[in-house]
Amino acid sequence: MYFIRKMRSQFNSWALLSVIFSTLILLPALLIMVQLFAESNENWEHIKEFMLKNYIVNSVTLVGFTGLFTVLIGVSAAWLVSAYKVPMHRFFKWGLILPLAIPPYIGAYTYHGILNYTGVIQTSLRNQFGIKVDQKFFDIMNIPGAVFIFTMFLYPYVYIITKSFLENQSSSLIENARLLGKGSFMTFIQVVLPVSRAAIVGGVSLVILEVFNDYGVVKYFGIQTFSTAIFQAWFGMGDIYSAIKLAGTLMFIVVLILILEKVIRGRKQYSYSTSKVRPLQPKELKGWKKFAVLSFFISLFALAFGIPFIQLIHWVYMTYDVILNTAFVDLIWNSVFVASIGSVLIIIVALIIANFSRLSKGWMGKLFSKITVLGYSIPGAVIAIGVLTLFLSLDEKVFTLYEWLGLEPTLVLSLSISMLIFAYVVRFLAVGFNSIESGFDKVGTVFTEASRTLGMSVTKTFFKVDIKMIKGAIAGGFILVFVDILKELPLTLILQPFNFYTLATKTFQYASDERIHEASVSSMVIICISALSIFFLHRVLEKEPK
């Protein structure tokens, strides 16, 4: 009785919608998990016996070294930026985040273009100085090269989280260490590293998920990993069955890593951001130290943003008159279209689940918020395969329905753009949800309660009060999701309808066809939109704590 009454007190339609959405989100992953234990076929036996080990070794090598280097670079940059003042300090503070605007696959083909035989470096050496170089020093299409690319364009994840932790949370500890006469280096080793452990682990796990998610870099460099194997199974052999098995195995590895992350991070949360904490005051640097720190910042910024960006501008200059035509307008329209619809849907679903989860206060709400975050940990190719399986089986049902109705049977769903958008929602819901949830956390529930005692239902309160109060979080969430969809590659490659390209997939197609100059214009559009959103969000975040 108590339970039924309680359920009724908890606004049925919100609960119902949350259940429906969470189930839909969970379905692709569940399908893959179920199929993982299905009987095996010959192809899969072959893959398992001869290739799986290679995939695992390559993926783990990439993840391991990228993780190590992003931690080294990200943490030292974060520490130096928050503890010391050098010329152009404000610029570097957010400039070191900018590499995040360049998706690794774009960075990969750009660097290849810079370094290869016809690239700017080798041609200048040849033509200006008459030097012929050994190609092997300039070949980055291998595992160390991929690690370099991933490190350059993903270290900002570690940098951002660690920096905001150091700036906001740890000032008293660090200042105490300084007062006790610890040198900078010892402070860093003995205080900064241990206290920011949770933040670092949080950042590096994002990096790891991105590396597992990647398809563009490894495919372009010809490195065999799980993602390339999934693509090969599906597109090369039309074997959805092996694709599912590979996806399932990869998902299993990712889950293991997430558990490991929880264990290492321990009970400490890295984001107990009380805005009351006094921020760390950066110290002015002098002499050779100033010079050293400054050169570190400059070289990092140049390698991870400046050089590839300038190269791309040059290529844009060379090709824009060929590229900029109606087909390109279509391309932009496609991208903006799927990204807008995807983002709007994500924000709506996130608002519903987040509102239910915060007002119900119970285990159900907590469970839903965990489920929504799931998709972001699962690599895009895996989600794509899960969604594909789901829609193919739905299509079978529709197929029989059509036959039964005497209509021309066709594959409707699995060829349509709705499948792609659904997959975006599954993959990026977490991004919108986190933003909205933290917006709700900030305003609390007291305004909602005030509205209800004044005679407004949960739903009316939602429209008149709740969403008005988290406008900023909604806008921020929308931008983040929009940019993520715009950049997305592996999932889009698998699920895009025939003859439908987005900026990201067209870029990749050009690059794969060794038409890297032509790829530059669409790359530039992606980078500029991402950079604008980073700049915008960074400014908003900077201003917020008063």
Binding site: R5, K6, S9, F447, R452, T453, L454
Partner: protein
């Protein structure tokens, strides 16, 4: 009896012990009842239960003979006709004073809303502030707007959760007198929560002394305060 609470039990999900077990309590029509108790004794929670913002695990609450909740029923807060003035006022920051006060007037047309809003601003002496935003008001002014907003829909019961705790002491006295005057004039049944003995004495027709989720004593202010003098003086040293 206007509000009847019987055998109420309540347990916060994330706390180990139940806060209320078998709490029974009545409030009379037209009276100002004060719930007096130390911080943490459960006063706010009791108000939230009456308002329908928390769901009790057992027991019943009746307001004006109507069942608000028992074993089978639970009336949503928006249907209870109970006004609540929150400790930090909870004025909607994105609305002006005018919009805040009109917020609860769902069943009126525009003219009626305007008239009611002006009437209430006059009662709390804030006629000139209709177009201000909450952050443009002082603490005492916000307090008055919160009172006006809660009274606007003409609730049968109005409840105050430590309404003076955010004001400086001089203002506290002034607002307390004003509030008492307004409550007497409108004759509305009210429940007033405080941890301050002086407030309780000054404003209450009746005091309910609460301790650790239990009713320790109740009655006329002088009597309750006298009977529990020792304990009260110990608690508030």
């Amino acid at each position: 009896m206007f509000v009847q609470i019987k055998d109420l039990a309540f347990h916060y999900k994330n706390s180990r012990n139940p806060l209320f077990e078998n709490l029974s309590l009545n409030f009379n029509q037209g009276e100002v009842s004060v719930i007096l108790g130390e911080s943490g004794s459960g006063k706010s929670t009791l108000l939230r239960l009456i308002a329908g913002l928390e769901v009790p695990s057992r027991g019943s609450i009746l307001i004006d003979q109507a069942v608000m909740n028992d074993t089978f029923r639970f009336v949503q807060p928006e249907k209870r006709g109970v006004g609540l003035v929150f400790q930090d006022y909870a004025l909607f920051p994105h609305m002006t004073v005018e919009k805040n006060i009109k917020f609860g007037l769902t069943k009126m047309n525009r003219k009626q809303k305007q008239a009611r809003m002006e009437e209430l601003l006059a009662i709390v002496g804030m006629e000139d502030y209709a177009s201000r935003y909450p952050y443009e008001l002082s603490g005492g002014q916000q307090q008055r707007v919160a009172l006006a907003r809660a009274m606007a829909p003409n609730p049968s019961l109005i409840m105050f959760d430590e309404p003076f705790s955010n004001l400086d002491s001089k203002l506290q006295l002034q607002i307390r007198d004003e509030l008492q005057e307004i409550l007497k004039r409108t004759g509305i049944t009210s429940i007033f929560v405080t941890h301050d003995e002086e407030d309780a004495r000054a404003i209450g027709d009746r005091i309910i002394l609460m301790n650790n989720g239990k009713i320790q004593d109740e009655g006329r202010p002088e009597m309750v305060l006298k009977r529990n003098k020792e304990q009260l003086s110990l608690a508030y040293v």
